[in-house]
Each structure stands twice: as C-alpha cells, then as structure tokens.
C-alpha cells in the first residue's frame, strides 16, 4: 500500500513537471537551464549519451560526409538537435536520435560534448 502511494506521488510529480515544461515550452533557454543531477552525474550521463554520437561522428573530427561535431558549442548542439527533432528531412537518422532524447538528456549531452572539447583544447 505504502509503495502504491509513493508511486502515485511520483507519478503526480512527474505529471506536474511535464506540465511545467509544456508551459515553458521547449525553448532553447528552457533546455539549457534544465535542472540536472550533480555535475559528476551529469558528466557521466553526458558521456553515456555521447557514446551514441560516436557510432557515426568521427571523434577526431575527420568526418566529411557526416559532419564533425567536435568543437561545437552547447547552444549550437541543442539548436541543431531541436531542428532534427522537428523534421526528418535533413536526416532520418538524426531525426530518430533527436526524438529519442528527453530535453534533460539533450542538455547534459550537449554540455558534455562542449566541456570535453574545451578540455581537449587546453594545453
């Protein structure tokens, strides 16, 4: 019974969060401000999601036909992913990937890619 009550509370909270997100709209700023977990957890989740990117995008940025994503800033990645989510015409694959990521996942993935690129540029 206790567990059922807890599940109901969690479910209501999730519903409320979804509604708030809907009210905010999925604007760029809303996604970039998405409340995450701890920084370490975000980095770990970012790395796990970004592992998916590496199945098609060359990590060394040598890609020609498939554009490199190394060095893109966070906002640009999120913007591009929102465009891919909205339409399948530029790329079927990216449309499918963008649809499968929540706003929160998109935010931590973009931040991870940018942080990693910045770290790579430091001597």
């Amino acid at each position: 019974m206790k567990r059922e009550r807890a599940a109901a509370i969690v479910s209501r909270a999730k519903g409320l969060a979804a509604e708030i997100r809907w009210l905010l709209g999925t604007s760029l700023s809303a996604i970039l401000l998405f409340p995450g977990n701890s920084a370490a957890e975000d980095a770990s989740q970012g790395a796990q999601i970004a592992a998916t990117c590496a199945s098609c995008h060359d990590p060394a940025g040598r890609g020609q036909a498939i554009p490199p994503i190394v060095g893109l800033d966070e906002q640009r990645i999120v913007k591009a992913m929102l465009a891919f989510r909205a339409s399948e015409s530029p790329s079927l694959v990216m449309h499918a990937v963008a649809l499968s990521l929540t706003d929160g996942e998109l935010a931590v993935m973009a931040r991870y890619l940018t942080d990693r690129a910045n770290a790579g540029r430091q001597p």
Partner: protein, 424 residues
C-alpha cells in the same frame, strides 16, 4: 596455439596472467576484471568502452589478430573495395586503450566459479564476463551442405577467406552464367544483406558479364526493404535479378556440390556460382556455456544485457535474442555500449542511466545509390521494443540517394574507428 601480444610479453602485468597463475589471488584485488570473449563488433566495443573508463581491467580473448567487417563486404564482392580496407588490426585496442588481448579461443566457461578455459590450456578468472561470439550456422538444415561444401559453395556470411573465395568465383565465372543466392530464414545476421549482395553483384555483372543472371532462392516470402530493392532492381538491372519466395519453391532443401546445383522442394537449379547462406544460431561458445535457449540464441536482460540463464555473464551482438533489434553491426555496437555502462555501474558503483538503443543501416543498391533506416528501441516488459522506425522511401531523388551513399562511406569510417579504437 596461444599467441600472447607484445603488451603481455613485455609487461607480464595483465590481470589475466595473474589469473592464470592464481585466480583466487587475482580476483578481489586491484581493479575489477572483465573478460570479453570475441573481438567482433560487439566484443570490441564493450572492451573499448570499459577500458576507457580506466577503472576496470579488460582482457579480450580472440583467436584472430584482425577483424574483417561483414558490413561493406558486398562492396568487395562487386570489386568496389579492397578486403584490406575492411580489415582492422585488434592490436590498436591494446596499444591505444590498454586492453590485454589473448589470441586464443574460449572452450569452456565455469559460471559459478567465474572462470574461462582457453584452447591453449590457460584458465582465466573474471568478475564479469562478456560473451560476443557472433553467429554459427545450422549446417544440418541443408542436406549436403557443411564446412567442406562451403569451400566450394561459399556462404561468405563471415567475412574474410569466404568473401575472397566468392569474389574469385564471380570473377572467373563465364558471361551468361547463373549466380544463385540461397537466402536464409529469419532471424539472421543483417536482414537486408542478401539483397544488397544481389544488387552489387548485378552492378558488377552489368559491367563485365552482362548476359549473366542472379537467382535468389529465398527461405522467406518477404524480406527487409523489399520495395526499395525491387524498385532499384528494375531501375538499375532490369531482367537480371529474379527473386523466388519460399511459397513458390518450398525453399532450399539440399545442395549437390559436385554438380554445383541447388535443390528446392520441387526443382533443381544449376548454378555457375552458388552462395549458400544457411540458417543461423548463436556462436558455439554460447551453446557450450548454457547461454542459449531452445531457439538457439541467447536470452538477455534488455537493460544490462546480462544472460537470463547464467548470472554474471553478459551477451551482446548477433548471438542474442534482441527483441525487435535486428542482428546488425550497429545494433551490436549500441548494445555493447549499454552493456559496458551497466557492468561499470555494477562493478564500480558509477551511476547508471536508461540505455539508448539504436540501429541504423546503410544499404547499397549501386555505388551511388543507397538507402538507410533508423530505429530507436527501449526496454519494455523484459524485452527490447521498437519505439520509432524510419526508412528511406521509394521514389527519392537521385541526389538524395547519392547523398545517402556518401553518408554510408563516412559512417563506415567513423563507426570502425569507434569500435576498433582507431579514432582519437
């Protein structure tokens, strides 16, 4: 024979060697150890992603020093790529990613004792084991077809010497001959591949042996991407490719290697070159280790890819029952990443997040004409279910199809760098 890599000979620090000497000492001290059996797409990806976390000691057991990719091997058959361009030295995984590689085959697994026995006699201990054995063939289902027959009528469904044999046969075939492809029943490795093979061999015939024909004797009544293939065949190779579904022929029953003929329920077809792709099952170590069920494939948990039959052993790639996920290199790579992060979470306490499972395949119809699909999956009720499926459409512009072919080449380069550690 066991061949130790340079890293092991030089350092003698590999956890696996300690394991050989004293498994009870090795386990439980220092970094946890994962052994990966099989250096194909699934195995190499798990090994690489686990090793890159730095907190886990990773040993890869694989008899071959290099891997030849099955994907893109149809381009080799058509003379459009060299086999060398499809071959990846596994040593890169040792040199750049710190994986210990043992060139040997696993012959037995002791699940309760967490040990692996190798053909060369060594015994290794592990904290977690990943088995990625790929496919094996159900030879018995086609009378007269076995490993010896495959040296005359190749399957070419594991790339390498079988691909070379089939290429040689196609090159030496007289113009006007019939190339027979026996396509297997579901489930099998890379569902669009027999039909991509027909397309690309037709491209080769069109240039060099234009009177030749291709006959596909299918064990099925429909196949993956059927409309796209049949549209392309009529555009590029009219009258050259004939597809006979199982309902017309009763499917392949036997081969006569001496006469080079293929026998279906009601007819015998004479082949100038015969490519027999048998029904498939999980690679043999899967069966030996009790990882397979009655289907011949390995059931797994869809989040962690841990065997549902043998705790502590994970299975990824073509050998699993993947729910809706097709048996493809991309699926294997995607499963392997989810599996690596799940193992890391269990061994080191790193946070675990819901897995993202994908498949995307590029399929060539001609060198400058390709189609693609993109699928996303999620675990649901103990199995992997499709969430979204997108596929190229019949009637796309020639420019769109050319662009997809260019993407395919770019994808191949990035993907193999991801799997075999050739990237940054």
């Amino acid at each position: 024979m066991t061949a130790w890599t340079r890293r092991q000979i030089g350092g003698l620090v590999g956890g696996a060697l300690l394991g050989v000497a004293a498994p009870h000492i090795a386990r439980g001290q220092g970094r946890p150890r994962v052994i990966v059996i099989g250096g194909g797409i699934g195995g190499a990806t798990v090994a690489r992603y686990l090793a890159d976390l730095k907190s886990i000691d990773v040993t890869l057991v694989e008899p071959n020093s290099a891997h030849v990719t099955c994907f893109f091997s149809n381009l080799y058959l058509a003379g459009l790529r060299s086999l060398a361009s499809l071959t990846f030295d596994l040593e890169t995984l040792a040199e750049r990613h710190g994986i210990t590689i043992i060139r040997d085959s696993a012959v037995a697994i002791d699940a309760p004792g967490k040990g692996v026995e190798l053909q060369g006699g060594a015994k290794l201990s592990y904290d977690r084991l990943v088995v990625a054995p790929g496919i094996a063939f159900k030879f018995a289902e086609i009378e007269g077809y076995d490993e010896a027959a495959a040296k005359i009528m190749p399957h070419a469904w594991i790339a390498g010497s079988q691909s070379e044999l089939l290429r040689r046969q196609l090159k030496s075939m007289d113009d006007g001959g019939v190339f027979v492809i026996a396509a297997p029943p579901n489930p099998f490795r890379c569902p669009p591949a027999p039909y991509e093979r027909a397309s690309l061999v037709a491209y080769y015939f069109k240039q060099f042996k234009p009177k030749s024909k291709i006959l596909i004797l299918d064990a099925k009544d429909r196949f993956s991407g059927q409309e796209l293939f049949q549209d392309a065949w009529s555009r590029h190779y009219p009258g050259m490719i004939e597809w006979l579904p199982s309902q017309f022929t009763g499917a392949i029953k036997a081969v006569d290697v001496a006469a080079r003929s293929v026998v279906t329920e009601g007819e015998t077809f004479r082949a100038a070159v015969a490519n027999i792709i048998p029904a498939q099952k999980a690679g043999l170590i899967g069966e030996k280790a009790g990882l397979t069920d009655a289907s011949g494939w390995c059931p797994v948990d869809p989040v962690t890819f841990e065997s549902t039959l043998q705790p502590g052993i994970h299975v990824v790639g073509d050998s699993i029952i993947g729910g809706d996920m097709p048996k493809s290199a991309f699926s294997a790579n995607s499963q392997a990443k989810a599996c690596a992060f799940a193992i890391a979470a269990s061994l080191t306490g790193s946070p675990q997040f819901p897995p993202h499972l994908f498949n995307s395949c590029y399929t060539f119809l001609a060198p400058d004409d390709a189609f693609t699909n993109a699928l996303t999956f999620a675990p649901e009720g103990g199995r992997i279910k499709t969430v979204k499926m997108l596929i190229s459409k019949v009637g796309e512009s020639a420019e769109a199809r050319r662009r997809t072919a260019r993407h395919a080449v770019g994808w191949y380069s990035a993907f193999t760098a991801d799997v075999f550690g050739g990237g940054s």
